[in-house]
């Protein structure tokens, strides 16, 4: 009995820091509608700063708690700087574009942290005065855990008072429902956004600071917490602080007991809980459907067929690509295959997001399932290359049909989160199921058939599959099926009113996009000769998002620009020291210069040049 109670207390202590980071994320999303990937970075910086301060003032109670508060305040200041210098400039950009900017911040913070604190994990001191364990029902419970259990509800109460007893809090709650109206009543939204961002960053920094006595500070803290924090926010309901508290307790306590039964479950459990909650309550436990007045969106412009000239440019580019093996070196061939794989992946994601209106944070799932499907077909069933290349995309489409059935019932950011959950579940299974998938070691020896084993021949195999896939998806976008999807994207109710089964069409679009992502995965697997769980990972999904959003979501050429630029830049910068910093900076520069993506930026540039000439 005592053992289970101790387990419950551990769960509650974990819940506290999870709540702190998630509540900040929820507040920021509620007010600004920004999905802030940099929130994990705030958490990490909070922990590192506290480590430095607390080690400096070691020993005294005041030194410890003073360090914690000071570090959290410094993170709040960091949040203010980021809001003022970056985000404030791009609030008018298409929805989710800010997400790319926050990911640029993630990369920069990672390298700055590395430069300041080094790559080694740092073990902070224990909290003075709370460094022992007390016996509760015979079990030793760390005093610090008890302090954390008290801190969580105390912070919840403080936020509640702030939101209900101050004018600022009332304005924040009003803005969460209808920002535009708050502006029309004379409130300067810009400062409200800044303040919400500072509060959110402060809470994340506090969450990180309080972890010091419990775990080592490491450079992996940012992305390892962000997935779970998203889950908590979504389960609680985006924008709801009390929802975040309930969800954090739910996840942490369930986790504390589930690992007793099935130790491997902790990676996927939060995502399973989230999937179940979203299916039962599509807006989370305490959430509401988003206000119609959240962000006035420009209506999407109709896609126009390419002009003859741009069609010729494209045909020339493809022809040059086809002829490149005659002149290019072998390593260029490999890079070009990478470019084509990334482009097909990005185009399939764009088909889902830009055409289908379904934002995916977990598109890598289908890329990875395609790759693993082919690899396992080779390894376990002795498939040849070509049958495996058919089998992989079929697996990916099947997975997309399965998860898509749940996802298309939701919309907006909730749909995006459910796709993330699906991807994390698949990633967790792949990572844990050693006997079948090889776990972390991946599957090796997935080589092309003998006739296709030279770099040149495999280049043409990849060329046919990727360019063919991209061509097919473009055709689909301009087909009646594409019209239907775009109609649903622009107005689900109107599409339903003219007799379209919107769920069915979105489901088919989801499956199609998943199948072609799988095809990209297959080409990737055979070109590398191996597959690893990374190919289903959150980073791969984010790469896809960056390609699509950076390229420009409102143009069919967007993902092509985005993917080509992404792979080329990545290939170049990863050879440098501190490449994350450089890559993040490049992302931020593009975001600030071209808030409509590279395709939009190029179009504006052409217009300016033409205007200048005329």
């Amino acid at each position: 009995m005592g053992f289970y109670f101790a387990q419950l207390l551990t769960g509650l202590a974990n819940a506290s820091s999870l709540f702190l980071i998630a509540s900040g994320l929820s507040i920021i999303f509620g007010v600004t509608r920004i999905v802030n990937f940099a929130h994990g970075s705030f958490y990490m910086v909070g922990a590192y700063l506290t480590y430095t301060l607390v080690t400096m003032w070691s020993g005294s109670v005041l030194g410890f708690w003073g360090g914690v508060i000071l570090a959290a305040a410094a993170v709040g200041l960091l949040g203010l700087v980021i809001e003022l210098t970056i985000l404030r400039r791009i609030y008018k950009a298409p929805e989710l574009f800010q997400l790319v900017a926050t990911f640029g911040v993630v990369l920069i913070v990672q390298d700055v942290t590395l430069a300041i604190w080094g790559a080694e994990d740092l073990l902070g001191p224990r909290a003075p005065g709370l460094d022992r364990a007390v016996r509760i029902m015979g079990e030793p419970i760390p005093e610090y855990d008890l302090a954390l259990i008290a801190i969580g509800p105390a912070v919840l109460l403080a936020i509640w008072l702030l939101f209900h007893r101050t004018r600022w809090g009332v304005l924040v709650r009003a803005a969460t429902q209808d920002r535009e109206m708050v502006g029309a009543l004379g409130v300067n939204q810009a400062w409200l956004f800044s303040a919400a961002f500072v509060l959110g960053a402060f809470l994340a920094g506090l969450g990180g600071a309080l972890q010091i006595p419990r775990e080592a500070v490491s450079l992996q803290m940012d992305l390892s917490i962000i997935g779970e924090a998203f889950v908590v926010v979504v389960i609680g309901g985006m924008g709801s602080v009390s929802g975040a508290f309930v969800a954090a307790v739910l996840i942490s306590v369930l986790n504390a007991f589930a690992i007793l039964v099935f130790p491997q479950i902790s990676i996927v459990l939060p995502f399973v809980v989230m999937a179940v909650v979203l299916i039962v309550r599509p807006y989370g436990l305490f959430g509401k459907p988003g206000s119609e007045h959240g962000a006035p969106e420009e209506p999407d412009q109709p896609l126009t067929l390419m002009s003859q000239r741009s069609a010729m440019v494209l045909a020339t580019a493809v022809a040059l690509l086809a002829l490149s093996p005659a002149v290019a070196a072998d390593f260029t061939m490999i890079l070009l295959v990478d470019v084509m794989v990334a482009t097909l992946f990005a185009v399939s994601l764009h088909f889902m997001m830009g055409i289908g209106g379904m934002v995916s944070f977990g598109h890598a799932a289908y890329f990875g399932v395609g790759a693993y499907g082919a690899a396992m077909a080779v390894k376990f069933f002795d498939f040849g290359m070509l049958p495996a290349m058919v089998f992989g995309p079929v697996c990916a489409a099947t997975a997309a049909i399965f998860f898509g059935w749940f996802c298309v019932r939701l919309s907006g950011v909730y749909l995006a989160m459910l796709t993330l959950a699906a991807a994390q579940i698949l990633w967790g299974v792949t990572f844990q199921w050693q006997d079948f998938t090889g776990g972390d070691d991946g599957i090796l020896g997935v080589w092309p058939a003998k006739w296709a084993s030279s770099d040149q021949v495999y280049f043409y195999v990849a060329f046919v599959l990727c360019i063919g896939g991209i061509w097919f998806l473009r055709r689909a976008a301009h087909s009646p099926f594409g019209y239907t999807l775009r109609g649903i994207r622009d107005s689900q109710t109107r599409a339903e009113a003219i007799g379209i089964n919107t769920n069915l069409h979105q489901w088919m679009g989801f499956a199609l996009a998943g199948g072609f992502a799988g095809l990209a995965g297959v080409v990737f697997a055979f070109s590398k000769g191996s597959v690893f769980p990374d190919s289903l990972g959150i980073a791969q999904s984010i790469d896809g998002l960056i390609m699509v959003l950076l390229g420009g979501i409102h143009a069919l050429a967007g993902p092509i620009f985005g993917a080509v630029a992404f792979v080329m830049i990545e290939d170049w910068v990863t050879r440098l020291d501190y490449w994350r910093f450089i890559f993040g900076a490049i992302i931020l520069i593009v975001v600030l210069l071209a808030p409509d993506g590279i395709a939009g930026g190029v179009r504006r540039l052409l217009r300016a040049v033409k205007g200048g000439a005329a």
Binding site: V170, R173, Q177, M181, V182, G183, A184, L185, G186, N188
Partner: protein
């Protein structure tokens, strides 16, 4: 005091307003009449800075306000009551009023909570209720009261009689009369000719994004062909 000249407004590629001009004097109540989709709400939203793509001129007290953010426009003395009320459903009545509260201005009457509760007795009873628990008529009153908390000099009132019970429409007419008595100016968009006539000094008629008529209600009554062409359903 409010002068709109050659106002164009568009959503994406769709042109909604085509050279709209109107003016509003000190302590005047003016009705902007027109059918559904004629451009009444877009005119009001454009004045308030809530439409992204606009051209032309909107001056208030001689100052250009077109293109300024809506919170700046509000602070110059314009109050906006939206067509669909846009009450904050998860905030109490009193909190809704708090969102609208702004410092008093020298040139406009100051509204206190007590004064507003006198004008809208229902709101006092329901001050602890959430916005979403109110009836349509109560929400309309709350929306007006919330705007008055900003102590505006001029109120843009978008279809206050839409979708509420006849008894409340009558109450609404009294409220507008009270605003005029307090010295405010009101630009009122309406489809209900009868209601507009009861509360306004003169009228504009808008149709397909352009002004078709400007003048008194007496003149309008003398020209049934005008109201038949632009207002009859």
């Amino acid at each position: 005091m409010l002068e709109v000249t050659d106002l164009n407004a568009r959503y994406g590629r769709a042109q909604i307003l085509n050279g709209v001009s109107l003016s509003l004097g000190e302590n005047e109540v003016v009705a902007l009449l027109g059918r559904n989709g004629a451009g009444k709400s877009t005119t009001i939203k454009s004045i308030m800075g809530l439409v992204q793509q606009t051209e032309g001129h909107v001056t208030y007290d001689g100052q250009e306000i077109l293109g300024k953010p809506s919170h700046v426009i509000c602070r110059t003395g314009l109050g906006y009551v939206p067509e669909d009320r846009r009450v904050f459903g998860d905030l109490t009545v009193e909190e809704n009023l708090e969102v609208g509260r702004r410092a008093p201005r020298p040139d406009a009457p100051e509204w206190t909570l007590d004064h507003l509760y006198e004008l809208f007795p229902n709101l006092r009873e329901r001050r602890r209720n959430l916005g979403k628990q109110l009836s349509g008529g109560e929400q309309q009153m709350l929306s007006i009261a919330r705007t008055l908390m900003g102590n505006p000099k001029l109120v843009l009132l978008d279809e206050p009689s839409e979708g509420i019970a006849p008894v409340i429409v009558e109450q609404m007419a009294q409220v507008i009369a009270e605003l005029k008595r307090e010295g405010l100016s009101v630009l009122l968009s309406e489809q209900n000719l009868h209601f507009a006539r009861a509360v306004s000094d003169r009228a504009y008629i808008i149709e397909k994004g352009a002004m078709r008529y400007e003048g008194s209600f007496a003149d309008l009554d003398a020209k049934p062909e005008v109201s038949n062409a632009y207002l009859a359903v």
